[in-house]
């Protein structure tokens, strides 16, 4: 999310620059006028207007400042309330909570490992599938797509991004899971299940639910986001750069690889992170297909659970330590998302340093 705003922040900067230069001009103009007819211009009316404008500016500044501080307050409030509610769990289990493989509600013995593994694995699979696809979509749309097709395709990608996640969940459970079980899981298990080293990844029951199924449905959901962002940033590559590269005899791939990608690196990473953020926090779609089993997954087909789906499933009937454990999971999801975003920012910074600007 923050990366998305970075993008818009860039755009905003351009705007602001234009605005500043324009107002500078007008200031200069008025300055000229002032110089020409000083006595006439500095009338009491004008002082009044200036005062009024100053007050307006002051309030405008304060009000917008308050709005943005409100966001900060909300963020802090969320972190604090999560942590306070989660405290009994952290106190009881300590750091051990992070890798403890247990989820026993009746005996109040909890560990976060199962949910963390499920969350990270399903989101990782989603990115592995969706990023190359999204990249292909974006390259096609910006480089090789015939003009008449560009708009309908682009719009349909944006529409796909607007589909509510529960729809993906229902699609996943009722349409995708049966097809996945019969036409993907069974053949995959037959072909790869007996192989050394990777065979265990394809073991288990082929009932259409599990980590891989959740990852694929998530990939569907994340794809339009990543593709839309990538397309947008690819489009901001100055045509002059692109055309020069083509003029030098570059192929489309070379242009994309050597010109477009380096130019838009920040935005591309941003788009991927936006997708990852969505995949990590996605609730309903995952809940429908991940299998919701509080066991450590042993293969790609085994049912598991994710932090978000545990929260969605269990809050209604949670009490005492179970309740605070759910808050602890929520807090961990917050931390994971934060770490991911921070890593992305660091990657961008390092890449920029390497480039020398």
């Amino acid at each position: 999310m923050s990366v998305g705003s970075m993008q818009s922040a860039d755009g905003f900067l351009i705007f602001k620059k234009q605005g500043v230069s324009m107002s500078l001009e007008s200031v200069m103009n008025s300055h000229h006028q002032l110089l020409q007819e000083p006595s006439q211009m500095v009338s009491s009316d004008m002082v009044a207007i200036a005062k009024k404008q100053r007050v307006q500016d002051f309030f405008f500044h304060r009000v917008t400042q308050a709005f943005s501080l409100l966001v900060l307050v909300a963020l802090l409030g969320i972190i604090i309330s999560l942590f306070v509610n989660a405290w009994p769990t952290f106190q009881k289990f300590g750091v051990h909570f992070l890798w403890h493989v247990e989820w026993d509600i009746i005996n109040e013995d909890f560990g976060a490992a199962i949910a963390i593994v499920g969350t990270v694995a399903s989101a990782g699979i989603a990115l592995l599938i969706s990023v190359p696809l999204a990249f292909g979509v974006a390259v096609f749309l910006t480089e090789t797509c015939p003009v008449w097709l560009r708009r309908p395709l682009g719009t349909s990608i944006e529409l796909l991004a607007a589909v509510p996640s529960i729809i993906y969940g229902m699609f996943g459970l009722f349409v995708f899971a049966p097809l996945f079980a019969d036409h993907l899981q069974v053949p995959l298990q037959k072909i790869l299940g007996g192989m050394p080293l990777v065979g265990f990844l394809f073991g288990g029951a082929t009932n259409g639910m599990g980590i891989l199924a959740a990852g694929i449905v998530l990939a569907f959901m994340v794809l339009p986001f990543v593709a839309a962002v990538m397309r947008d940033v690819f489009e901001i590559t100055p045509p002059i750069l692109r055309e020069s590269a083509y003029g030098l005899g570059c192929t489309t791939w070379e242009v994309v690889r050597q010109v477009v990608l380096p130019y838009t690196q920040k935005g591309v990473v941003g788009g991927i992170m936006l997708g990852l953020g969505r995949a990590l926090g996605e609730t309903m779609a995952v809940t429908f297909v991940i299998g919701n089993a509080n066991r450590m997954p042993t293969s790609l087909f085994s049912p598991g659970t994710s932090i978000a789906s545990v929260l969605a499933n269990e809050f209604g009937e949670a009490e005492n330590l179970h309740f605070s454990t759910l808050f602890a999971l929520g807090f961990l999801l917050f931390v994971i998302t934060f770490v991911v975003l921070a890593l992305a920012k660091m990657m961008i910074l390092r890449a920029e340093k390497a480039k020398g600007n």
Binding site: I106, G208, T287, N292, S309, E314, F315, G316
Partner: protein, 343 residues
């Protein structure tokens, strides 16, 4: 300028008038809790509104949520599937009474079996959910179903992923009939499912969808979902050793056998109830109210609603595959429970 001010004044006055009028009409009763009885409470509320003009706002947020909300005094009544103990009720100054009866039903997806054809006993069912019986052709199942051909197929257990009164009812039953289950798993709104094949579905509809889709699946749902989705239910052996099928008659039989006043707060567990025709996984859903409600008017309105529902809501309950409380029981509730609530 003046006319503008007048205009604003009149708008404000109109807004105030609507607001006050709104609050005069809004005798809405608020309740929150169990999801299991939500369809019938919603149906009753709709009919009650049509009959009396008074609305009921019931939020099905789960039993624990209902208990939390009534303790926080944000609602007039809380609803829970797992009854509170007499001690807890006394500590909080709450009263508890049953409002509706329903049943939980084990369902399967098994080729060659029509609804009601497969028979199991409680301990065998528990072993299947424990993962001890992992295949449908297990001799223990075959022994109970002589002459039937059971397929060689893995049993996939489907359970509720969300905490639920249905799960409480079902695990309460397994705890009652199986020592192994009670010592290793126990009962609760959500438990640690031991079978290695078990998967969770969200809500009754999630369980129903998974059972209908996965071959060899075994799950449990509320009775209404069995009918709605045409699911293959099992016959269960009850406490009297008879095999029974789930329907409103067998639920009612289980309710008739219960001695409601034997437990403080009427929190009788109806699982494995005596009676030749009793369905062994029947349950009541309970209402919680304060003896000394902070809003006496609202509490009185809530009691009026339940009084009306007990009198007029039987047909609606049957239509939705619940069982209304027997008349003897409602008389007792009126005389012994409602009188404790200050009006």
């Amino acid at each position: 300028m003046n006319s503008k001010r007048n205009f604003i004044k009149s708008v404000a006055a109109a807004a105030m008038a609507t607001l006050t009028m709104g609050s005069a009409f809004a005798a809405d009763i608020t309740g929150a809790g169990a999801t299991f009885p939500f369809p019938i409470y919603a149906k009753w509320a709709e009919a009650y509104k049509a009959a009396t003009g008074n609305g009921l706002n019931y939020q099905s947020i789960g039993s624990s949520g209902g208990i939390r909300q009534i303790k926080a005094k944000t609602v007039t009544f809380g609803a829970t599937d797992a009854p509170l103990s007499g001690e807890d009720l006394d500590k909080e100054g709450l009263v508890q009474f049953p409002a509706i009866i329903g049943g939980t039903v084990p369902v399967v997806n098994l080729e060659g079996f029509k609804p009601g054809e497969l028979r199991v006993t409680g301990p065998v069912l528990a072993d299947m959910f424990l993962g001890k019986i992992a295949n449908w052709n297990d001799p223990k199942i075959a022994a109970l179903n002589p002459g039937k051909k059971l397929p060689d197929q893995t049993i996939t257990i489907v359970h509720r992923a969300d905490g639920s009164g249905t799960t409480f009812n079902f695990t309460d039953y397994l705890t009652a009939v199986s020592k192994d289950w009670s010592s290793t798993v126990g009962k609760g709104a959500a438990v640690k499912w031991p079978a290695p094949t078990s998967v969770g579905g969200k809500g009754n509809e999630g369980v129903a969808a998974n059972v209908n889709r996965v071959k060899g699946a075994l799950g449990y749902v509320e009775y209404a979902y069995v009918k709605k989705n045409n699911m293959t239910f099992m016959q269960l052996q009850n406490a009297d050793g008879k095999y029974v099928a789930p329907d409103d008659l067998t639920f009612a039989s289980a309710a008739a056998g219960a001695d409601w006043m034997s437990v403080p707060g009427m929190g009788v567990s109806m699982v494995n109830a005596k009676g030749a025709a009793s369905w062994p996984i029947s349950t009541a859903s309970f209402i919680l109210m304060y003896k000394q409600p902070s809003d006496k008017v609202a509490a009185a309105e809530a009691l009026k609603f339940f009084d009306w529902a007990f009198l007029n809501g039987k047909k609606m309950a049957t239509d939705l595959d619940y069982v209304a409380l027997p008349d003897g029981l409602t008389t007792q509730i009126r005389a012994k429970v409602w009188t404790q609530i200050q009006k």
